[in-house]
């Protein structure tokens, strides 16, 4: 039985002297995993390494027990919707989807049925017999997705899959990913639309300059980053006094008083200690109306982690 994990072990990849990814150590479990990082951070390199389009200079990769150097077996369980916006000349959407299925050993009839099912799934049946070259950007995106899911893969790799999709199709596509993930499959996607990643991902992998800076569940990742001061917005009546009480704590790095003097923006290095300090302040009779973490979403982590590179 093959291990249902995707494992990157000490993987490095250079493009000449330019770093692609460096010493990546990852274990990706089934579910939706998002690769988040700015342009050139190494997201596509990781996906290309995973699918064998490029090979690591160092380290090893195993995809559910299979090596990416064995496309014959790997691509039976893997579908990859690449960022490359081209299909072979004169290819129709239907041919684009069905060719891989025929090569996988399906008869023409079986391949046609599976291709049609995939095209139906992403709402592309009407344009199926048109040449891919005549498609709009959104249609090309969708037909690539149809090709990736047509073989009913265990591992679905999607490079910026939500780009160019209208809101309705986008919602259906997200539902499709969630359905795949619920069946114990891997869905690995990259995106710049961070709010969507935040909502749909089981896990995120934050990557910048070819290095993994954090990985895990969205909130778990947040916990991993001890060095990163968490931000909290506190609403209280005596904001100046609360600020002075908090400022003596070692874990507090910065406090900003709101203009209305009824709120504070506090940055802390230790959420547990911060929580304890707030409890003590409340017990001392100060009224704390609300406490809200302002950077628990991926966007905040992302901005913090990539710093000036964005």
């Amino acid at each position: 039985m093959t291990a249902p994990e995707i494992v990157f072990h000490e993987v490095s990849r250079f493009y000449g002297e330019v770093l692609g990814v460096n010493n990546v150590e990852l274990k990706i479990l089934p579910g939706i995993t998002s690769l988040v990082g700015p342009n050139g951070s190494g997201k596509t390199t990781l996906m290309n390494l995973l699918t064998g389009l490029i090979h690591p200079d160092r380290g090893t990769i195993m995809v559910r027990g299979l090596s990416p150097r064995d496309p014959e077996r790997l691509m039976r369980i893997t579908g990859y919707a690449t960022q490359y916006d081209t299909a072979p000349r004169s290819t129709t959407g239907f041919d684009f989807v069905s060719t891989g299925l025929i090569l996988a050993g399906n008869t023409k009839k079986q391949a046609a049925e599976l291709a049609w099912k995939a095209l139906e799934r992403i709402g592309m049946t009407e344009a199926a017999h048109r040449k891919v070259a005549s498609y709009s950007k959104g249609m090309r995106q969708r037909v690539r997705l149809a090709q990736a899911i047509a073989g009913d893969p265990d591992v679905l790799v999607l490079d910026e899959p939500l780009n160019g999709l209208d809101p309705l199709i986008r919602a259906e596509t997200v539902a499709l990913f969630q359905e795949f993930a619920a069946q114990g499959r891997h869905v690995i996607l990259s995106s710049h639309v961070l709010q969507e990643v935040d909502i749909i991902s089981d896990r995120v992998i934050l990557i910048t300059n070819g290095m993994i800076v954090a990985e895990g569940e969205v909130h778990g990742v947040r916990e991993e980053i001890h060095e990163h001061p968490s931000q909290f917005m506190i609403r209280c009546r005596d904001a100046s006094r609360v600020a002075s009480l908090l400022f003596v704590q070692d874990h507090i790095t910065e406090i900003k008083l709101h203009d209305d003097r009824l709120g504070l923006l506090v940055m802390t290095r230790d959420r547990t200690e911060f929580s304890r300090a707030l409890t003590e302040i409340s017990l001392d009779g100060y009224t704390i109306e609300s406490v809200m973490a302002v950077d628990a979403n991926v966007d905040a982590l992302y901005k913090y982690l990539i710093g000036g590179s964005e």
Binding site: P71, E72, T86, L103, G105
Partner: protein, 353 residues
Amino acid sequence: MNAAFRFRQTWVIARLHLGRVFFSRRSFWVYLLAMFPAVVFLANGIQMKIQHRWVPSRATPVALLESIQEGAREDEVIEKAGKPIKDRSFQVKNKKHQIRHMRYFDGERWWDLSFRDGILQRKHSRRIFNFTQDRLAFAGMFQFYYLRLAIFFGCLGIFANLFRGEMLDKTLHFWFLAPARREVLLAGKYLAGVIAAVLIFTVGAILGFAMMLWPHHAAQVTAYWQDQGLSHLFWYASAAALGCIGYGSVFLAFGLLFRNPIIPAIVVLFWENINGVLPKLLQKFSVLHYAQSLCPVPVPTNDSMPILIRLLISPADPPSTFTAVFGFLIVTALVLWVASWIVRRLEINYDTD
């Protein structure tokens, strides 16, 4: 996933590429290269037929033309043989000498008479329908043009594009993401190229051969056909097919290795053409060495030719037919093995291509 399954995959990939190889815009000039000999021999045949029908009314008796001797005067010749079919005069060497060319026809041959200052200097006759000469002309055309240039550049156009063209179009990833071994992809593409090239160039050779035979007398052609004709045609077609198989493997590998396969192809063209003067061992690493050995009619050479030209025309040590075919296939297999090694390591990195 057994061998039968991989053969099926190879055929599927080949079938998908065939349409592209046969009908792409890039293939247009491959057809031109392949059909050029047929067009030349067709044009020659048409000209011969037209001449044969048009001129007999103005034919001069052969005995009369044979009786004209060098040293005769212009007016004597015209008095004897009548007005020539063609008559052209001009002056040379600072207008010191008057040159005149006259042409007569005896029903089978052209007679060209050259005069200087009114005196016959040279008399030369040439048959319109010279079967032996035409067969030699075809042999020359096949070895000098067809094998060395047409098949060479045709295969360069077909095979180098199988991978390099897809890299330029940014579509190669489509095949690399298919559930097939890279070697199977290579075999499928190569098979498509071989089917297309062999079909185009063997048909081109057969058509050229047919056009060469067409204007000649039926009895002469039948006699040739019953004697050596079929065997000659078979070996011309075989040499063309093996040329496609050999050059195809080389240019397929070049398409994988080089961003611009034209430059290494020119190096190979040079290598192929100096093959006759290379040491025996090196001669074996040449497509032309084997393909030329299969040609049924040797190109005529004579002692007046420079030795280097003679060496280039004919292989210094031509192998036997069996050795040629076997050696050819060994060289091709070797090149394909190298190509499969390259394709296994090939990466999709369009930005740097």
